[in-house]
Symmetry: C2
Subunit: 549 residues, 2 copies
């Protein structure tokens, strides 16, 4: 019995008819065009696969479509892509205590006290966002200070950069931390001055000692958190994200959303280490799932820590801590082993590197491994914050992608000056230098470390001034990028960085109709106007997922 | 801006046109009908969703279809469903050493020696299927005996029932097992006579001590094993399976196959414990994925061990081991906790219960929990092998499903007689009694513990005689079922047991077109003819997945 016609008959049925196109008219459309330059248009046609069928310039004849809508003069830009964020962190953060707006220790303690009182049922008080630098404290806070706010339950609060955590006494008891506890490799238990008594702050790998004691979120909490993350991101005009450090629990939450048709965010996932990568994806990256909404691209790994906690790995000691060069979290041999293992499976590595020594080792390791694994691999370095100028040219080789977060520059500049001193800033947040040397930039936010607001990112990228216009004229302004480069960093280049070019990132025929309607032109607005951009609507795959009304 | 028409336009596009129906003509079709009775037909129409559009009786007018094929008089039955199997175990077993056909220790050692020589690159020699009872050994084999076959690499071989394992000296060294090692709760390290020296055999929970030392399969090995399992099952006419004890690694392999369009087997998954259940499915069972090919239904848990290793939990001691009543692996309080947790999430529990005490506790626990969680929950008990007759009526209450494996009865009867003695067999493998008391039977194989061949299962179910016709007239023949009941147990009732009724299991309009073409009529064949049934073709969702030619 032979059924040679059956397969083709079924393919025909699946392809379906072409009908029900939608025309969105009367917009000021902007996209990165096929030539990489800005292209403007006034109307966009969506086909019924949710892809762009056509973009039309003023005066072009409009096609017959089933539905036609008036954009009422709004500015339409491609859906914004955050090339470095922590999706579940955003969602869980939105459901927990946020200290990122506190300006002093006293203000923070007051907010913690109120949150605990309002959330009596929670067995642990969890939160994030504190920053002793912003508070002007000049030191880490202590467990005793936290006890003064909450003494009846364990409390654990992550620092703004996620590289340190602050515990109260009950939390340390729950984790079994005592004066006898030793700091683990790659981390540090802070001690009270002149004592072995833990002070309450845990840096980098030492955070794991505390995190292990915190009850894991239940799956329904994860699903709620993910739904919340999608909302937060769409509200900011973000339609796609590179998720940095995806665990199997995160992945399952993404899939659950996809399976029930509730996945509205596009996620390019980078697994939390090689074991999670293999568990999630198997021997090769996953296919694009749910109509280009989810793919396991590769593996995130931490080469070093962060500047704030002095965990970034420097070639020479910190200017404000002369005995300390920071910590390599992943040593050179292990880094190379993981890169080879990833490359063998065509997985894309995304290497967190902040300090000069970390960036140098990442660049050297890539150069070595790329010899054995040629081809289009798009080795990603995440953050690329402080690069020794002698290493900068290496960012233009081997197809490396510098995945950077413009707002980090404006948030960190005073700290960076303190940590590094004035003579080591030439390769700091060196966006334009990297472009000029032939490198490629993808822009993101590192949310929830920073706000996911991409308009703040666009403003920082093009001015190197913060929301208060400081410093006037920009910090090391030679490393600003222009508006087109900044927009590309948050759209087409962020897509390219995740092997998604041609699928989304531009409003060109055949790409997914992911777009944002906003109230001003980001290529013409002043920096402060740009920061005040209002997102009117966000669309993913031809469907509206956020409406400001 | 409003797009109220867009959603409906897209729904229309997805539904697609109806065309390209296929008629399969000239078959002797058999299905369980809407009334639960056998219905016969001579032609079947498949729609382009891969579902049954129509079945036609002889003389009925045939519809116009795009394609028409001649079944050449083959018998067509619904795709067979194995209500209890271990899918990845089948696949891994197919790729490793199989000792199930060995009839003596010497023969087994010879086969092990040859396999090791043929597989020099493997760092561990792994296999399964040994049975010291079948060998007539009267005791467990020893590490020293295994060393005589392979001494250069670790060897670990699972017993036929998976409830014990046999290690050589290098394997025990790799696992750190010495005379000082203690048996864990729920398990036993066998010792040499009059010594604390481990003999090489590890029973039930003690197996974990060995398994922890075995390198985990790589993801590509898992993918190969799963592809192999699908092949093995389709070759036997099986189109769907209840997978008992799905781990996250298994689930990811199933999803990888689904994501790339290579999932041809329908899998009703029962997670390996409540943690895996929540990790995989979240707070609720998954939806049916990949056009009814995969769903996480619930949770598998082990209440006791097996008869062979005397791990089955009995009310009174073993007849052949008077000090031993076997082991409850999951204690009464924990069992009830897990059942409540499953019921709260609408997960279906599948409780492994072999011995009289285990079955009594499973039945009592269900009766207690069902009071708080009424409704259609289909509490499953797996194996239900040895039930105290006073407990049998409870199988007819609360919508319980007895998920049983007919071939176990024919394989185990001599062992069951030895373990229990003649006066405790009244409720042993009591299929017909359970039906008569209002219970529901789903049939499976427990592959790879037994062959997955469902025709052997149908023959055992209807005769209670083994492949050699022993014992003549059947063992406790009053508990035979008739052919219609046996076929239902492997089709419609196995689907019902997994909440799949109406989706597959019968060849009725609207159900998936899963069917098998075979060379004889299973309702008319003699038992030995039935066992010799040849599967000609296997189809899943209107597509051929196996062809004997």
């Amino acid at each position: 019995m032979k059924f040679k016609y059956l397969a083709s008959a079924m393919a025909l049925a699946i392809a379906g008819p072409t009908q029900a196109d939608v025309l969105i008219d009367n917009v000021e459309g902007i996209t990165i065009g096929v030539d990489g330059k800005i292209q403007r248009f006034t109307a966009l046609v969506i086909d019924d696969d949710g892809k762009v069928a056509q973009i039309l310039e003023s005066g072009e004849k409009k096609p017959q479509t089933d539905y036609r809508e008036n954009g009422q003069g709004a500015v339409m830009i491609p859906g914004l892509i955050d090339a470095h964020a922590h999706v579940m962190g955003i969602g869980i953060g939105a459901l927990t205590l946020d200290l990122s707006d506190t300006n002093s220790l006293a203000e923070a303690l007051d907010k913690i006290r109120r949150f605990a009182a309002e959330n009596e049922a929670r067995p642990w008080i969890l939160g994030r966002g504190w920053n002793q630098e912003k508070w002007g404290l000049g030191r880490f806070p202590t467990a005793a200070e936290l006890d003064s706010a909450v003494a009846d339950r364990p409390v654990y609060l992550a620092r703004v950069d996620g590289h340190a955590g602050w515990a109260n006494t009950l939390a340390m008891q729950a984790a079994g931390i005592t004066a006898a506890s030793e700091s683990p490799a790659g981390g540090r238990i802070e001690r009270l001055p002149g004592s072995r008594q833990p002070s309450g702050v845990f840096v980098d790998a030492a955070e794991e000692l505390m995190r292990a004691a915190i009850p894991a979120p239940r799956p329904n909490e994860r699903d709620l958190a993910f739904a919340e993350a999608q909302k937060v991101l769409h509200r900011h005009g973000i339609t796609a994200v590179a998720d940095m450090g995806t665990t199997i629990e995160d992945w399952q939450a993404f899939r659950r959303a996809g399976d029930k048709g509730a996945l509205t965010l596009r996620i390019m996932a980078y697994a939390a280490g090689p074991e999670q990568m293999e568990l999630i994806a198997g021997a090769r990256p996953s296919p694009w799932l749910y109509n280009d909404r989810l793919r396991m691209n590769g593996v995130k790994l931490y080469l070093d820590g962060a500047l704030g906690s002095r965990g970034a790995w420097l070639k020479r000691p910190y200017a404000d801590d002369p005995g300390n060069t920071g910590l390599p979290i992943t040593g050179p041999a292990k880094l190379r082993n993981i890169l080879v293992r990833a490359a063998q499976g065509n997985f894309q590595p995304a290497i967190h590197a902040i300090g000069t020594a970390a960036n140098a080792d990442a660049l050297n390791a890539i150069a070595e491994i790329a010899e054995s694994f040629p081809g289009d691999r798009r080795w990603r370095i995440e953050h690329v914050q402080i690069v020794d100028p002698v290493d900068l040219p290496k960012l233009g080789r081997n197809g490396i992608i510098a995945s950077m977060q413009p707002v980090h520059q404006t948030s960190d500049r005073l700290m960076a000056e303190a940590r590094l001193g004035p003579d080591r800033l030439e390769g700091a947040y060196a966006w334009n230098s990297i472009l000029q040397l032939g490198g490629r930039l993808a822009f993101g936010s590192d949310a929830p470390v920073e706000s996911p607001d991409p308009f703040a990112g666009l403003a920082a990228a093009t001015t190197r001034m913060d929301a208060n216009g400081e410093p006037f004229g920009g910090w090391r302004p030679q490393d600003r990028v222009n508006r087109e480069q900044a927009l590309a960093g948050f759209t087409s280049e962020a897509a390219y960085a995740g092997f998604a070019e041609g699928r989304f990132g531009r409003l060109l025929p055949g790409e997914r109709a992911d777009f944002v309607l906003i109230d001003r032109d980001p290529l013409l607005a002043t920096p402060s106007e740009l920061r005040a951009t209002k997102v009117l609507e966000t669309w993913v795959g031809g469907r509206k997922v956020y409406d400001a009304d």
